[in-house]
């Protein structure tokens, strides 16, 4: 394939330098770089845009990176960014955060996921009161056999002022966000890479769009620390959007995002039943406008991610060949805990084979279209 031009390089470097960019901003950069005729049709421009992304991603494949789009679940805006695809020794370097800071971040995300209100955000004070000890595997396990769990001194000594500084830094770096109400929510960067994380952890996908569909997590959901190292990975429970549904039949693995459910059965007469077992499904509460908006975004993301499926198939076969995908050698206790607990809260993870019928995106996160975002600032 021909080398990328300076225009491609500009797009790439803008994302690396400025971080995740809103769709409008990214599209504006693209327009300024490429539009020669002011009369270019929007459709032609979109086609060219997709070609650019495709070409960039083809070149990126050799370095396990990808340029993708993602929807911020708080404001609904689509963001573009460069995302890391692989957790390896190199990507573990890609963070300026220390281990306690990462543990703190994990704790915040889990608190958001487990928030009883299900609003997808928590108060600042709640974030600051998170204890890092809870991030140490087995530290809070009442079932432990009385064996002392070593809490690293750095965790114990992580002061309130350090928490405050870290919280500011995480918001500034867009790993977390500050909502208009002054609460702490998940940031754009954290939305990215959910897909990759879900893929790696065999989270079942939505029957319709093949995006990972996560039910509210019950119990402790631990995030592997190394995920954050790569600046991409973060898991998000569907409580943030409340849009994922499991089939009411416990024995059935089918799950759908609520908006996918709506889309699938819109215009159809008769009851909404599960395609796997025929059990009646509950209706979605998603507004029609949101469904339409997401459908439109679907088309775009589908066009820009067709290469993803072939990569996904190849990775899946590699994953099957390498049964132990959790072999990071780093924080393995947290990693294995994550794996086991993920398996416990999700059902059988055997159904990762369905191809995208609707939005055809990679391991998605929740109801929205997660795309990746990546490391910044070079």
């Amino acid at each position: 394939m021909a080398a990328l031009s300076w225009r491609h390089h500009t797009l790439i470097q803008s994302l690396l330098s400025r971080g995740p960019l809103k769709e409008d901003d990214f599209a504006s950069i693209f327009s300024q770089l490429t539009v020669k005729n002011s009369g270019s049709r929007k459709q032609q421009e979109r086609k060219l845009f997709n070609e650019y992304l495709k070409k960039i991603n083809a070149e990126f494949s050799c370095v396990q990176l990808e340029l993708r789009a993602c929807r911020n679940q708080y404001d609904g805006h689509v963001y573009y960014g460069v995302v890391n695809n692989v957790e390896d020794d190199q990507s573990k370097l890609g963070t300026k955060y220390t281990v306690p800071q990462i543990a703190f971040y994990k704790g915040i995300v889990e608190a958001i996921i487990h928030d009883a209100e299900g609003e997808g955000c928590i108060y600042n004070t709640a974030a600051l009161n998170i204890r890092l000890e809870s991030q140490v595997h087995g530290a809070t396990d009442s079932q432990s056999q009385g064996g002392a769990v070593q809490i690293p001194p750095a965790f114990k000594n992580f002061s309130m002022s350090q928490k405050e500084k870290t919280l500011d830094q995480l918001v500034n770096d867009q790993w977390l966000c500050s909502t208009p109400e002054g609460k702490i929510g998940i940031g754009v960067r954290s939305f990215l890479d959910l897909r990759s994380w879900f893929r790696t952890n065999e989270v079942p996908s939505c029957e319709v769009c093949n995006e990972a569909a996560i039910k509210p997590v019950i119990g402790m959901l631990t995030l592997p620390l190394y995920r954050v190292y790569s600046k991409g990975y973060l898991f998000f429970g569907s409580r943030l959007s409340g849009l994922a549904q499991l089939c009411p039949n416990e024995a059935c693995n089918v799950r759908l995002h609520s908006y996918c459910l709506e889309k699938k059965f819109s215009g159809q007469r008769g009851e909404k039943v599960c395609s796997g077992c025929g059990t009646q499904l509950q209706g979605s509460t998603v507004k029609a406008e949101l469904v339409e908006e997401i459908t439109n975004a679907d088309v775009h993301l589908q066009n820009s991610q067709q290469a993803e499926s072939s990569r996904k198939r190849s990775r899946r076969s590699n994953r099957e060949a390498n049964a132990d995908i959790d072999d990071t050698g780093d924080d393995s206790s947290l990693t294995s805990a994550t794996m086991s607990k993920t398996k416990r809260v999700t059902r059988s993870s055997g159904r990762l084979t369905s191809s995208c019928k609707c939005c055809f995106s990679a391991n998605g996160s929740l109801a929205d279209f997660v795309v990746r975002c990546w490391m910044t600032s070079i």
């Binding site: 790439i12 770089l33 050799c62 390896d88 190199q90 990507s91 370097l93 070079i378």
Partner: protein
């Protein structure tokens, strides 16, 4: 990716493996640059990355590093600039015949620099939220350049104070800890720092290091400083 046969045949390693290794080196450079905020990456680190995997063939690390350089350019538009580490002039002169200030380096390192034209970079790539760091870098290098390439710590802070930066300030709205901000320039190899024994005790000197002395950067700094000095010296000529 296929390599030229005459080169590929040197090493009895499948192309796929070479590709993978080149990819890892590129990823290492990108992630490490991010982690250490642009500090140069020693060639030794890259070599070790390759040899640690068991590849002991002579010249193979150089081959992989060259390939990584090429791909960083073609894929990302980054130049992988090689720097030669310079030693402080005081150390270079001690007990030896006098040397030029830029003594021969003993370690190669790399930084990545955008190859985009400066107007394109400024318009589409530059992160506006970190321009204050570029500004500080330019100002400090400019001061030391005007001081002849070397300046005492005290003198440097004297000049920085005139610009509103105080040595012991820890809550600067932009730099937080200003001393750490200056130290970062040492880590990034724009400056090097040395303690010299003097009649009044240890005196810390700052002088320009290899990154500031790298020709494209050094020439630009000289040009900008000259413009500013000339403008200040002859304001009426611009009317």
């Amino acid at each position: 990716m296929s390599y030229p046969p005459e080169i590929a045949s040197q090493f009895d390693i499948p192309d796929l493996e070479k590709d993978k290794l080149v990819g890892e080196v590129i990823r290492y450079i990108l992630f490490k640059t991010e982690q250490n905020s642009g500090c140069p990456i020693r060639r030794e680190e890259l070599t070790q990355l390759i040899t640690a995997k068991g590849y002991k063939q002579r010249n193979f690390p150089s081959f992989v590093i060259d390939e990584a350089k090429s791909k960083l350019s073609s894929i990302f538009g980054y130049e992988m600039r090689e720097l030669q580490r310079s030693r402080p002039s005081a150390a270079a002169n001690t007990g030896r015949a006098s040397q030029s200030q830029q003594s021969v380096g003993d370690a190669k390192s790399y930084i990545i620099i955008s190859k985009l034209p400066s107007d394109v970079y400024g318009k589409f790539v530059e992160d506006k939220s970190s321009v204050h760091l570029s500004g500080l870098t330019f100002v400090v290098i400019g001061i030391i350049h005007l001081a002849g390439g070397k300046i005492t710590e005290e003198n440097l802070w004297h000049h920085l104070k005139r610009l509103g930066l105080h040595e012991n300030e820890e809550n600067h709205p932009k730099f937080s800890n200003t001393k750490q901000a200056l130290e970062a320039l040492v880590q990034q190899r724009y400056l090097q720092k040395e303690k010299v024994n003097g009649p009044e005790g240890n005196i810390v000197h700052y002088e320009l290091a290899e990154r500031a002395l790298d020709a494209p950067i050094y020439d630009k700094i000289k040009e900008y400083v000259a413009q500013m000095v000339q403008k200040d010296a002859t304001p009426l000529e611009y009317d």
